[in-house]
Amino acid sequence: MEATKLRRVDFVFRPDNTSIDVLRKTLKRDADDIILELIDSGLKGRGGAGFLTGLKWKLAKEAAGDIKYVICNADEGEPGTFKDREILDRVPRRVLTGMAICAHTIGAKEGFIYLRAEYKFLAHKLKAVMAEMNEEFKKLGLDFSVSLRYGSGAYVCGEETALIDSMEGRRGEPRNKPPFPVTAGYLNKPTVVNNVETFVNCCIIANIGADEYKKFGTDNSRGFKLFSVSGDCSKEGVFELELGMTLADFVEEFGDGDTKAVQVGGASGFCVPRKKFKDTIIGFEGIPTGGSMKIFNSTRSMYNVLHNYLEFFEEESCGQCTPCRVGCQQLIKGIEAVKRKEKPAGYLDELVKLAKVMKVASKCGLGQSVGNAFVSIVENFREEIVY
């Protein structure tokens, strides 16, 4: 495993005057050829879960049925993530081009952007761009149009099957898988659900080619990625970086000189303490992230950080499965009891066991990842939780 050097790149936010040309060029290509190139590029989903995008498209293309859908997941709710908002605000045409390439590839006629309610202020501008792009699709002979759907403040709807249930007018409760959305998604039809940034990357790969794209990143983490950087930083905001750097390099660039820990991947990600910065690679061989990077300096109480995350999960758990619903409540009660000295410090080990049970027994990614933050904070900052 070779780490890369921290390198800033500029692909996603480049001035966008090429999207239509990219689309025109790509529509002339065979679907299988597009899929092969996408698989070859190694692109993995940029929402956090990291499924191979080319494979997802391949499965949807091969799924039986005449009616298929393309959904852009703009329900960006992971604490500390705000890159999709920047993309939709600054380069929405690239997102729509990526969706159109997907539609051409899998044979979909209808697409949706599922926008979180918190980003509704973007809708006015976005609708105008969508209308314009839908016209362009028509002119290029592509029978595909995109419309807008809104979330209503539920974090769990970022999970693709919960998102689909929400679009179908139900409670946003994740479904049992399989079947996966690529075979039975929206209205039970084959559906590709990709993150905003993933569609932009598809558009970029269609433009520069897989060979050029593969020059960035590492074997397991190809390409580049947007990072949402916040907390105790020398600079905050959205930064586009090559994948595969060490956390030490990252902190050197963005930290305030007194960094104690970095939460990689948001509340559902992992907390890395200073002593592990050097050995932690940001990418699928180390700690993957949907983009959220929160930096904490030595003035911060990791008890408060953990408590804040647990409150978040307790509220956002959809409640349908017991390990997640009850587990979140018990983890909060547990650390509060330890803090108040009503329980001995050793009780934390019992709570770690509970968090690990939630990881295997919860139905969806929400409950499964509560343990990531919990275990990594408790193990690395135990004394801060106890005293």
Binding site: E76, G80, F82, S152, S166, G169, S230, A267, K294, E316
Partner: protein
């Protein structure tokens, strides 16, 4: 009220009467009235041929679909970690003092409801809040009071 019946019928004409029309209809009621009451939900159920329980079950799942009466302006301040680190408590105190209500309450004139919410996606510019659909970031107590006062005069 005939008024509500017509309102919901118009929304169903516009968005359709299938199950997948439910969220767009509920969301448009929120835009117009800020919350959905029992009468609205019963009427939606009739139009979409669903049970009222199904409509309530869906509506009550979503934190941005209020099923209890709220004010004309719903203020939602972000309480997630980075906004917390950047001083959201001071903002909350300033707004509570300005509106003379506590978090979770509605002003007696039904103009404002004050709530917390989870990450709004403005961590790099926290503390942040929403007033209905509008975002206000990089808040200070002074700035927050100024914003609230401008809404008081609307």
């Amino acid at each position: 009220m005939a008024n509500t019946e017509m309102f919901i019928r118009d929304l169903a004409d516009k968005h359709g009467r299938r199950r997948e029309s439910l969220m767009p209809i509920l969301q448009e009621v929120i835009d117009a009235r800020r919350y959905v009451d029992d009468e609205v939900m019963v009427n939606i159920a009739k139009e979409l041929d669903l049970s009222a329980a199904e409509v309530y079950g869906t509506a009550s799942f979503y934190s941005f679909i209020e099923t209890e009466e709220v004010g004309h302006y719903v203020i939602r301040i972000c309480k997630t970690i980075v906004c917390d680190m950047k001083g959201k408590d001071a903002i909350i105190e300033a707004i509570e003092n300005t509106l003379k209500i506590k978090l979770g309450q509605t002003t007696p004139d039904k103009k404002f409801t004050f709530k917390t919410t989870n990450c709004l996606g403005w961590c790099h510019k926290g503390p942040a809040m929403l007033i209905n659909d509008d975002v206000y970031s990089e808040l200070t107590p002074e700035k927050a009071i100024e914003i609230i006062e401008s809404y008081m005069h609307k």
